[in-house]
Structures are given as structure tokens and as C-alpha cells.
Amino acid sequence: MPLLSVRNLSVSFGAVEAVRGISFDLERGETLALVGESGSGKSVTALSVLQLLPYPVARHGEGSSIRFEGRELVGAPDATLREVRGGRIAMVFQEPMTSLNPLHTIEKQIAETLFLHKKNITPKAARERVLELLHLVGLPEASRRLDAYPHQLSGGQRQRVMIAMALANEPDILIADEPTTALDVTIQAQILKLLKDLQARFGMALLLITHDLTIVRKTASRVCVMTQGQIVESGPVETIFEAPQHPYTRNLLNAEPAGRPEVPRIPPPVLLEANALKVWFPIRAGVLRRIVGHVKAVDGVDLKLRAGQTLGVVGESGSGKTTLGLALLRLAESTGRIVFDGVEIQAWGSGAMRPLRREMQIVFQDPFASLSPRLSISQIVEEGLKVHRIGATAEARRELIEAVLREVGLDPLAADRYPHEFSGGQRQRVAIARALVLKPRLIVLDEPTSALDMTVQRQIVELLRDLQSRYGLSYLFISHDLRVVRALASEVMVMKDGQVVEAGPAAAIFEAPRHPYTAALMAAAFDIEAVPAAEG
């Protein structure tokens, strides 16, 4: 008998069917990965195992069954569920920033699970157990951190605390819902390694929910591919990766951004150059608000971006890469030299910058936040045209808008709809259209693909490459995703703590990274190898 057996599970929210009759088994000690893109129903599946969905808004269909050691969990009484939750089946959530209570110390939060499931444990014994768990999950200086609050820990450390909480009662099954998505690549590798080690040690079954195929290949033994609420293919990892049967699986496996940028023999002229660029935020203290120090977001960066080329800026969160992009466009205050097309622009006022805004544009990471929710698509794209007085009449502007929408692969008929009616990938196309309609020469792309699903990511990368070759655009491509950078950038700059640790031609850096930090980043990103680098 399998440890967990899901049969014919369906979940619907009102009229929306999120999961439609899926079945899978989980054996003791194995790792099963549920893979799918956003909206495929994988998280809903995970939550239904613990019956944590918002009932009665969510309903299970006829014949849905989830058996844990032969006991039915669907519709089980609260007492049974409470005993199973956290005791026998534990869960780790995606976002370590919000899944810990900010008002309680980490000791209190871990001990709570202990007190709930072991009635006769003494506070002293609980404290010892908490310490043991924190050592187990490799939290540095655990004994000193017992009284720490979540905000005093980094993202990776919080995720370790979450795992310690989940492990407190030595569960039989650990459900990990995108446990590393919110973390930097190097830390992601460490957390996955930790999960594997702990699983081997306790003989737990691991149900891993993820969208990242690299993680699946590295961690799981069996995999179920989900799309639109159904499992379209399942089997051992090797089989699925070597010989995918279902077209969707094949599509997903092909979704990795492919291709390499062209590198011209004669270097084209430099379009954007910066020397010793610094963005320092003052830290003030005391009654007189005197400046006692600086947060060095960008600390003396030199860069050169050639016309028609892509410069990839790579780094983990907090490395200052976004601030660098904003500073180069003069959207953040900075010191140092910025030269655009042979003209020094650092000292220019906002009025003088305005004509230049047409030449340099930006596309942001989150397509849900970067489009004004109360303007229609055509109004959003039109705004730049109006500012720069391109297109004399409304009709002329309308034609330009429709042309640019066609160019980024959107239906011009959609121009009068509002952003919330579009998917993430379509919104990102609108953001690109807004930048593109001005016919700029430089576009700063600030993580344009990281909020998108894999298959959509690939489409956007191809769109960007296509536009670059057609219009000779220069991209400053900011990303933490090395695969995308490799597919697009001809030159790469690796940033850490506001400084450039390594820069040069992309091929050279990807083949033979010289700096140990670059090497660690590569290992983590391409092989999910944990390198014993310092955790932030």
C-alpha cells in the first residue's frame, strides 16, 4: 500500500475547475515532483492533501479520494486532520518572508508545533529539540538565534527555519511548494541539498511542487507533469526527460531559452558608457540626522554598451543591478560619468533629459505592476507618443500603436482592452510595445522574463532577439537567470554587493569564469550544485 494515494481528485472554485480528476501515489522515502506552469493546479493539489483549501468556496468533485496510510482525508473530521497536519504530513511554503509570523521568535514558532502534537513535552525539552532541529537544518549560530525574530534572518535562513518547523515532529511526508523559487540561485542549491539530506536521514517521502525542470532533474525520482488541472504524463525522471511522450511535456522541455547572440567581428561603436558610477544612499542617525554611513547600492561601476549589442548584468538580489539600470537612465540619483552616444548626460536636468527619453527606454520585471491598471492598452502605448509629439493626429498615433502591437505579437483589436484582461506574457509584450513605439536605441530590460512561465519566457526572449536584429537595438539586460543571459548577451558583467566582480565577453565568462563568485553562481544555476559560499 502506498503511503499516500490520490485518486480521481478534482477541485473546483465556483464554476472554475482548478484540478480535474488526477491520480498519483507517493511511496515511503521517494521524491515525487509535480511540475507545471502557473495555473496548472499543482499548488491546489498540494493544499488539498492537507485539506487546507478555503472550503466551502473550494469543492472536491464526486469520487475524489486522498488516502494517507489507508485513511481517507477528503472530508475527514477536524480532529483527524489536525493530527495529520504538521504531525504526519508537513508543508513548506514558497515565500519565506510571509510564512513566518513576524511577531514571534523563531523558537516560539518551532516549539508551537511540538506542543501541539506532543502533549507531555516540557518547555526545557522543547527548547532542546528546537535547538537540535536548527542544527539539523544548518542554521549558523543556532543557539544564539533562538530568540531572533524572522526579520533578523535572511531569506535562505528563514526557509531553513520553515523546514525545521516542518521537521519538528518527524513527518512521514514533506510537501514542499516551490520551496526555493523566492531565493537566490546559490541559496536555492543549498536548500535543495538540505532537503535531500534530511529526506535520506529520516526516510521521508517528499512531494516537491515546482515549475523548474532543472530542480526536478536534480532532486526527484518520479515526476508528474501537470497542465490545466490534469496530469498529462508521469513516470521516472529519466524516462520523462529522455523520451517525453506528451506534446506538452516536449514543449516544456524545449522551453529553455536557446540560441546564442551573434558577436560581430569589428566591435560596433559604444552607445552607452559609464565610469565610476556610484549610487550611495546615506544612513542618517542621531537627533541632527547626521550622515553616519552609506548603503552602497552601486559602488564604482564601469561599463560599455555597444550599439546593437546586449550587455548582460548578472547578480543575486541586493547586488545593485536594478539600481544600476535606473541610474544609467537618470531615474535614480548617482555620481560618476554617464555618456550616451558621445554626450555626457549626468548633469542634465529633467527638461533637458526629456528629448533623450525617446532614445532610452526601460522594461520592468513585473508586468502586473508596470502597466497602469486604469488605462487601456492603446492609452498606455500612446502616452510616450504624446509626450514626444510623435504622430500629429489621433488617427496617425492609432496607426503607430496598431503597428507596434502587431510587431510584439499582439492583436491590434485588443488595443482598447485593459491590462487585467491579459496574461503575464501578453502584458510583458505590452510593456515592450510601450518602449518600442518610440523607436529607442537603448532598452534597459530589468528582469523582463523572471515573472513569466518557462514557455512564455522563451517566446519573450525570441521576440527580444528578433527586435534587436531588426532595429539594431542595444539592450542592457539585467537578470539573475543565467540561462536567459547566455541566450541573449554578448557581453556579461557579474555584480555582487554593488561592485563588478567580473566582466567580459559572454562566451569567455560562461566557459571559464575566473572569479570564485562567478563560478559558484554558474554551478548553482546550471547544475544546482551547492558551493560552500557564504550564505547572505
Binding site: 488605462l375 502616452e383 485593459y418
Partner: protein, 345 residues
């Protein structure tokens, strides 16, 4: 006309508003009362709507005619309530009176009992202590209260939104200075200022409006400021800056629509607050000039003439109903903007 097309969001909000039946009907009732009171001159007036006299048509409600026209002796404005004139017109034509043949200042000299007279067939809600018709004064008083409330709400919202927007959008030192100024300003004792003012000038509608405006604009500032502070770091604001859009345009086009949601929710409550303020000033005698029709003055009369309960009860009921209607409307507006509610369900 594309610009005026309702977005799905707006449509959902209208549906939410209409789904709150109480608020929906309150709005219609309030609008009906307000529109009716705007035409108070045609409802309660001591001048007839229409006079037919010796083959001539006269409209005393909009034009003034000397007495000589109707066979009187003096070239002064006609007093249509005068028995002689009435008789003269009745002999050669007829008079069409408004439903209530009293203006707000008309004194009924034909009272059978000393003023204040109780409700009767002539004075439906009785008269006040100077023999003026209560219903007529009520209609005019309601109009002035709502107009005062509306103008105060409009101008203080305008000032408040502007100040809040500037503070929130620019932040930093601007915000800091403005906030301290507001803190100081809001601590000034407004009632004493009004008392001092009324000893220097005779406060009228505009004086009161101006003075109240000086202190009431702050209610929306914090709300709007918070919205702007939140929005100024959004990516679409940055994107607009990168396009070269100027600050005022960004504020009006991109940020303000978001701030309007919470502002609109507040407006009915500000309106009811403004009406209460005027009423209480009138009640205390620091409001509109003596003799003006007003709810507060009626309340004060009710207090001074406890033997004539129709004064106090009328004023109380009018205020209670008006304010309740506004609160119900406010609740419906709040529902309309509540993202957790789904239209009509």
C-alpha cells in the same frame, strides 16, 4: 466617445452600488429632495406663480410688478397677500399660488393664536415664534444646508487632494514640512475664531464657507498622501518617468485615479459632517445672519419654545433623515469600491 465607455471595473462598481438597495434608494431620495429644494421658490413663496388680470398674464414668481398694475394705489412692489389686491385681482382674473403660499420670510398675520402657532390647514407644520411658516423655512433651510455642505465638501476635497498629492508624490522634505504645518494648523481652535469673526463682520454664507474651508481641507490630506506615497514607487510610475512624462501629468493621469477610490468613499461622510457643522453654528448663533432660514436656527427655536414641540421635532426629523440618507449612501459607495464584493451577487 471612446473615452466615456464604462470600463468593466466601473460597471462592476455600479452593480455593487445598486446591490446595496438601502444606499441606492437613499441616493435617489436624497437627489429628489435636493432637486425639489433647488426649486423652492416654486414650491413655497408669497408670490403667486401666475396671475391672470384683465387679459394680461403675469409671472410674479420671476418678475416684479408694481401695485398699480393690479389696481393698487402705490408704485411699489405688489404684496399679493394683501386683501385689497387679492380682491382686485379676483374681480378681473385669477391667481395661481404655489402649494405653500408662504416664503421663508413671510409672516402670517392672520394667526388665530399667538405665534408659534401649531400645525393647521394653512401652516402645515405650524409657524415659528415670529409667525413664519415652518415648512417654507424648512425647505429653504434644507437647501442652504445642502448647498453649503456640497460647496464645503467640493472645495475642501479639492484643496485636500491637491495638498495630499503634492506631499505624497514628492515626499521627503516637502512632506515633512507640510505635515508639521498641518499639525499646527489643525490645532487652532476654530470655534473661537468664529466667535471673534462674528464680532467683526456679519458672517454670511461665503464668510462661513471660507472660514470653514480654512480648517476642513485637512480631512482628506492623510488619505490621499498615503495613496500617493504608495503609488510613487510603482513600476508604472517609473515607466512613465522613463517615457519623459512630466510630474503633474503623472500625478493626474496615473496616481490620482487610484487615490480617488478611497477619496470618493469618504465624500458622503464629509458632506454629512459639513451639514452638521453649519447646523451647530446656526444653533449657537454664530452662523448665518439672523433671520436666515436654517435647520440650526429652527432647532434653537425649538429649544427656546418647548411648549411648541412641532419646531424641535421638525428640525430633528429633518436632520436625522438627511444625515441618515447620506450615511447610507456612503455605505453603498464603500461597498461599490470594495474589491471583495462581486457585483449583484
Amino acid at each position: 466617445m471612446r473615452r466615456f465607455r464604462l470600463t468593466p471595473l466601473t460597471r462592476r462598481r455600479f452593480a455593487n452600488f445598486a446591490a446595496n438597495r438601502r444606499g441606492f434608494w437613499s441616493l435617489w431620495l436624497f437627489l429628489a429632495l435636493f432637486v425639489l429644494s433647488l426649486f423652492a421658490e416654486f414650491i413655497a413663496n408669497d408670490r403667486p406663480l401666475l396671475v391672470h388680470y384683465k387679459d394680461g398674464w403675469y409671472f410674479p414668481v420671476v418678475a416684479s410688478y408694481p401695485e398699480t398694475v393690479f389696481g393698487g394705489d402705490f408704485p411699489t412692489e405688489t404684496d399679493y397677500r394683501d386683501a385689497f389686491i387679492r380682491k382686485s385681482i379676483a374681480e378681473a382674473g385669477w391667481i395661481l399660488w404655489p402649494p405653500i403660499p408662504f416664503g421663508d420670510q413671510t409672516i402670517n398675520f392672520d394667526l388665530a393664536v399667538p405665534a408659534p402657532a401649531p400645525p393647521s390647514a394653512v401652516n402645515w407644520l405650524g409657524t415659528d415664534d415670529q409667525g413664519r411658516d415652518v415648512l417654507a423655512r424648512l425647505i429653504y433651510g434644507f437647501r442652504i444646508s445642502v448647498l453649503f455642505g456640497l460647496s464645503l465638501t467640493f472645495f475642501s476635497s479639492l484643496a485636500g487632494i491637491t495638498a495630499g498629492a503634492v506631499q505624497g508624490y514628492f515626499g521627503g522634505l516637502t512632506d515633512l514640512v507640510f505635515q508639521r504645518v498641518i499639525e499646527l494648523w489643525s490645532n487652532l481652535p476654530i470655534l473661537y475664531l468664529l466667535i471673534i469673526l462674528s464680532s467683526i463682520v456679519q458672517p454670511n454664507f461665503w464668510w462661513l464657507l471660507g472660514l470653514m474651508l480654512l480648517f476642513s481641507w485637512m480631512s482628506l490630506v492623510d488619505l490621499v498622501r498615503a495613496e500617493f506615497l504608495r503609488a510613487r514607487n510603482f513600476d508604472y510610475i517609473r515607466a512613465a518617468k522613463a517615457l519623459g512624462v512630466s510630474d503633474p501629468v503623472i500625478m493626474v493621469r496615473h496616481v490620482l485615479p487610484n487615490a480617488m477610490v478611497s477619496t470618493l468613499t469618504f465624500v458622503p461622510f464629509i458632506l454629512s459632517g459639513s451639514i452638521t457643522t453649519l447646523t451647530s453654528l446656526d444653533f449657537l448663533g454664530f452662523g448665518l445672519p439672523a433671520g436666515s432660514p436654517s435647520l440650526g436656527e429652527l432647532l434653537a427655536q425649538g429649544k427656546a419654545n418647548l411648549q411648541a414641540p412641532w419646531l424641535g421635532i421638525t428640525a430633528f426629523l429633518t436632520l436625522a433623515i438627511t444625515l441618515s440618507l447620506l450615511i447610507f449612501i456612503g455605505e453603498a459607495v464603500r461597498d461599490a469600491f470594495d474589491p471583495r464584493k462581486n457585483g449583484g451577487r
